[in-house]
């Protein structure tokens, strides 16, 4: 057990290190002279030289990488070129929008997908199963940003139930904030839920064929209890794995969806930074998102041990 946890942790750290090399290489080495790229061709040589100094571009490559990584790890992301404030402040300001959005979408998709998967698996081969999975098949094919556009049209333009976009800030009350995030979260959650429901169903069907399920039924446990207690618990590992892998797409989706709803989150920050060629911001946000993906997947791996007792006893 400890060996398993330590190995996963070590692999996670290694992946993080490699990923940081990739981000650094693409954004700081490939451009040749990032300072020139950021300031454009019309900038004076003095200005470019000053930025080179500020970014430490005159130092040897390895020193630059190590300094950057060490600073990043301690939360020092550098100063934004366009906003002239520490990048960490910009990120923190945007994270209070993006993170709740991603979590809300994740919660919604889980709450929809797991019961739907259970429902279909329990009625395998019958009409209810075919209908649910048909719906899921369509759901998988729907781009979340298109769904978002349709939701805006129906609920904001047509029914006028929710705002079409924008974010009032958490200062105006918790519910006002949630209300602004609800529609984007639904748009993100539904296509994800479709995938998750399919995985839940097939994992459950596999488990339902096991001997211990027959035993549980034979000793007189009610169907519902067998399904929720015994089957679902055992089917959770593939479901968790897919949720972990989906997290990367959820983050990417969040970035795109923020643009549909004009939400001031990390996605908006990223796109503004690209237009303004603020590589320092781009680098920090990308590294942060990549790190989030890796950390979540390590956590998923670690959670296997909590879900599956067999993993706990195996060494």
């Amino acid at each position: 057990m400890t060996a398993y946890l330590l190995k996963r942790l070590a692999i996670g750290i290694l992946t993080l290190l490699f990923a940081s090399v990739v981000v650094f290489a693409v954004l700081e080495v490939v451009p040749g002279d990032p300072a020139r790229l950021m300031l454009g061709m019309n900038a004076t040589e003095d200005a470019v030289q000053a930025l080179r100094e500020q970014m430490g571009l005159n130092l040897p490559l390895v020193t630059r990488y190590v300094t950057w990584l060490a600073a990043f790890a301690t939360g020092d992301f550098g100063r934004s070129l366009t906003y002239s404030v520490p990048v960490i402040d910009l990120v923190a300001e945007r994270l209070v929008v993006s993170l709740p959005l991603a979590l809300l979408a994740l919660a919604l998709s889980t709450v929809i997908a797991i019961p739907a998967g259970l429902f279909a698996a329990a009625r395998r081969g019958r009409f209810a199963d075919t209908a649910t999975m048909g719906l899921a098949q369509v759901g998988v094919a729907i781009p979340n940003f298109w769904l978002a556009l349709l939701l805006v049209y129906v609920f904001a333009v047509w029914l006028r139930l929710v705002p079409a976009g924008g974010f009032p800030g958490w200062g105006n009350g918790f519910w006002a904030g949630i209300k602004a995030l609800l529609m984007p979260a639904v748009a993100l959650a539904l296509p994800q839920a479709a995938i998750l429901a399919r995985v839940t169903r097939s994992a459950l069907i596999e488990v339902l064929g096991e001997d211990y399920i027959r035993t549980a039924r034979a000793k007189g446990l009610p169907r519902r209890r067998v399904l929720w207690r015994h089957a679902l618990r055992n089917a959770l590992i593939p479901v968790l794995t897919i949720m972990g892998l989906q997290f990367a797409f959820l983050l990417a989706g969040t970035i795109i969806i923020e643009n549909v709803f004009y939400l001031p989150g990390l996605g908006r920050l990223l796109f503004q930074a690209i237009t303004q060629r603020d590589l320092i911001v781009v680098e920090s946000v990308i590294m942060l998102l990549v790190a989030a993906v890796i950390v979540v997947n390590v956590l998923v791996d670690l959670s296997y041990a909590a879900v599956d007792p067999r993993l706990r006893t195996r060494r």
Binding site: V30, Q137, P143, W146, R277, L279, V290
Partner: protein
């Protein structure tokens, strides 16, 4: 090896019969062929010229003349969807080719060598998996500016570990077989065995995965061109059409509805095709039924 023995012909016939009974496969195949046909036809005929901008005719709702209506420049949306199909198909196809071209050899190599090569490959996969196509595209765009090539590279890179994993898992299940042992005993090296025995045996799972990645590629391309990282105007693309529709939703909802439907139908068709192919070709799911 290429001559068809009576036995093989019978197998093909059995497969064809099964294929005709598989609704998912048939529906998927029909949709996929229709979309491909639409893209092909668009090279020499579209109902209207998409480079023509009859601005007086802008944002017309669907009529008998313009089936899907017109956009903010007066262009026929049906024609634009036809031309846009080319872009979606081309990007997704090349991205799958990149993924297969690099991923399959890597996966086969890892399975043949095992040990540290295998371990290194899996770690390499972990790293790439942490970069969804959108993040790669953001980085490429930040350095080189926007363009259709970015979308291809970003999606293609993400496809590499997917195919590497599938090829590795498939190859690992073939290696312990007896006929591989026989091939080794007759003096064939790992490369020969991989080419002659492993690849033909994993071809069907690669085909299924290829179909799924193709569908995902179309979705990813739409997302990238929606945020402006994909095909640049005036080249029509489904994602861009949705972007242009966004601010005009109130007056012209049809501008958003039809390109979106094109994406959904295409992706649905490919996914159905993939599911059908899996049922037909994968012995494991065949047994389950």
């Amino acid at each position: 090896m290429t001559t068809t023995t009576p036995d093989e012909a019978e197998n093909w016939q059995a497969l064809a019969v099964k294929a005709l009974k598989n609704r998912s496969f048939l529906l998927g195949l029909v949709i996929t062929l229709l979309v491909a046909l639409m893209a092909l036809v668009s090279f020499f005929w579209t109902p209207f010229d998409v480079t023509d901008l009859p601005v007086t005719n802008r944002m017309q709702p669907p009529t008998a003349e313009h089936w899907f209506g017109t956009d903010h420049f007066g262009r026929d949306i049906f024609s634009m969807i036809m031309v846009g199909a080319r872009n979606s198909i081309a990007v997704a196809f090349v991205a799958v080719a990149i993924g297969m071209g690099l991923g399959v050899p890597l996966g086969c190599w890892a399975a043949a060598r095992r040990g540290w090569v295998d371990e290194a490959l899996m770690r390499f996969n972990d790293v790439i998996f942490a970069f969804p196509a959108l993040l790669s595209a953001v980085m490429i765009t930040a350095i080189f500016g926007p363009g259709a090539i970015n979308a291809i590279i970003a999606i293609g890179i993400f496809n590499v570990p997917v195919f590497a994993r599938v090829a590795r898992a498939g190859a690992l299940s073939i290696w312990p077989r007896e006929y591989i042992l026989a091939a080794r005993a007759s003096g064939k090296n790992a490369t020969q065995i991989t080419v002659e025995h492993i690849l033909p045996n994993i071809a069907s799972i690669l085909l299924v995965q290829g179909t799924i990645q193709f569908a995902l590629g179309i979705l990813a391309e739409a997302g990238l061109s929606y945020v402006g990282f994909g095909a640049q105007p005036p080249m029509p693309s489904w994602g861009r059409m949705l972007f242009e529709a966004q601010t005009r939703m109130i007056i012209a909802p049809h501008m958003a509805i039809f390109p979106g439907l094109a994406i959904v139908v295409t992706v649905l068709g490919l996914n159905l095709l993939g599911d059908g192919l899996r049922d037909l070709l994968d012995p494991k799911t065949r047994r389950e039924r």
